[in-house]
Assembly symmetry: C2
Homo-oligomer: 213 residues x 2
């Protein structure tokens, strides 16, 4: 027993515990909000004492920022890794949608946490800048897509992203609040509807839409 414990180096064990706390905090925050949840329940969820939690994070605010950056990073990695955003296509759009979907399904707490409004008052400038790391590549993708004639040029890129992102969030929020249930077909249809919203409709020759479904 002790052998196992001693086998893993101290730094590794520390990092692990830090992660446990981060996960627990994410879970509890997603459930009960930010201002709403006291620190002790977070410690309890993580299986550590309150004092221990404060060994790993300076304050509740620091913890919130860490959870935010962690979740944002996970979303970013999950969404963008190994993807060439500068070659937009319908297939790339579908891939992005599919990745968003798996993220929302596999890690609903992170997804919900990132959509909460009330962390903005807590976030440090550094945490806020994380936001851009996701938005800028997407923006570039839209710009290239519009140059290509793949996407409609009527919407400014930021607006297209806001529209698409909002629609996606709206659909999953509705599911979370039990306003509807989503099967795989619904998700595909929603995806296609979003595509219709931002795609180019003017020049049909550009659009060999493989409506394979």
């Amino acid at each position: 027993m002790t052998a196992v414990a001693t086998a893993t180096p101290a730094s590794r064990r520390e990092a692990q515990k830090r992660d446990t706390i981060l996960r627990a905090a994410l879970k509890v925050f997603a459930e009960s909000g930010l201002h709403g949840t006291p620190v002790p329940p977070i410690a309890a969820e993580a299986g550590v004492g309150v004092g221990t939690l404060y060994r790993y994070f300076d304050s509740k605010e620091a913890l919130i920022n860490a959870v935010f950056c962690d979740a944002k990073q996970r979303l970013q990695d999950h969404l963008l890794s190994d993807l060439d955003l500068l070659n937009p296509s319908r297939a790339l759009f579908d891939t992005l949608w599919a990745r968003l979907t798996t993220f929302a399904r596999q890690d609903p707490e992170s997804f919900q946490f990132l959509e909460m409004q009330d962390h903005h008052s807590y976030l440090t400038p550094h945490s806020r800048s994380q936001e851009q790391a996701l938005l800028i590549p997407l923006g570039m993708m839209v710009i290239v897509g519009q140059r290509n004639g793949l996407l409609g040029e009527h919407l400014k890129p930021d607006l297209a992203i806001a529209l698409f992102w909002g629609a996606f969030v709206g659909v999953f929020k509705a599911e979370r609040l039990n306003y509807l249930t989503l099967d795989d077909d619904d998700l595909k249809r929603a995806r296609d509807a979003c595509w219709f919203a931002i795609a180019n409709h003017n020049t049909p020759d550009n659009q060999h839409r493989d409506a394979a479904q």
Copy 2:
């Protein structure tokens, strides 16, 4: 001065003060969140003592519920009054969009408040049921529109609404957070994009048949 005060009957003055508090609470909540704001700042914003506030509302929770119901009601009235949702058309869609826009512009605090996530833990069942009063008529509109051939039948009504609502909220949220600025043209383009998302694309002839009301 005193003449004016005495001119209004007591009941009227009470209702007015209740309203003042409600407005102040909405403003402060929209700014600083729900758990985040103490009661005294709300009273200060309303220009009354804390004790007075508690004469009009049993508790902070009751106040939150009242603000929610009030804002929801205002949205509902603004959106649906004098509208025949059972005769869907592109024009009706545009009207709804325009009304949503004026609401978000004229009463941004209400709009923001209603989109906050964290009131759900506070809401009484009665407050929650208010939600339905808006969703059900919209759902019926979509159903009729799909029967007409005006709207695509691929999306289940609840999903179409969630998609549209989410997109709208996403656009205005992005504006509020300074991710973009919206002029009138942008709003029209966003409206048209949303229409594309939910409209019927398959059988153009159907669109004329019943739409020619």
